[in-house]
Symmetry: C2
Subunit: 116 residues, 2 copies
């Protein structure tokens, strides 16, 4: 099942340079940044994001030097943050990057013209 996690987080937040974030905006955006704030998690995310077809199963991305339970743990965290969706097909669970969330995070980091 593909989870609609992106619907909850995608609309979040103006560019960081536009105006001070509210507490709610900061909570939402910090959750996404925190999910990418771990080197192993970032490598796994990058491995999924750059994999052929934009999706990967655990079997494709387990070469980052940690155990498979650890890989699964990190993928779960990335899902909880809305950065990945997953779908079981047969034996394997396939992970896919949520492009709208990536776009929303990218937007946060654009520099508002007034701030330059």
């Amino acid at each position: 099942m593909i989870e609609p996690a992106s619907d909850a987080v995608a609309p979040c937040c103006p560019p960081l340079t536009e105006r001070p974030f509210t507490a709610d905006e900061a909570e939402t955006a910090a959750r996404m940044f925190k999910a990418l704030g771990d080197p192993v998690r970032l490598r796994l995310f990058s491995a999924v994001a750059s994999h052929e077809g934009g999706e990967a199963c655990v079997c494709d991305i387990s070469d980052v030097g940690v155990s498979q339970p650890t890989v699964s743990h990190h993928l779960k965290k990335l899902k909880e943050a809305g950065l990945l969706t997953s779908e079981r097909r047969g034996t394997w669970v396939y992970y896919r990057v949520e492009p709208s969330v990536l776009a929303a995070m990218g937007k946060l980091l654009t520099i508002a013209p007034a701030a330059v």
Copy 2:
């Protein structure tokens, strides 16, 4: 003194969707994401980034509901991650967003055409 923190981190890393990150790339990029992975830190960063002239002193941005030592602690973390630079002028230390680092982080989150 303006610290040249950006020189060390700005060149980091292709888009996350381009190819799997190496361990070194992941270390560098995760440090930046982690710095923004805390709601209070993100509010402070946004307050500096959106402040008039693109810089602010602690006196300008202390309304996020935490003590001034806590504010200073978080600003220090943001500096260590290369996201802010600081300069003492008279009584106050002024903080400024490092645009090249923001741009580098934004680049990480762009979606490589091959991955779409």
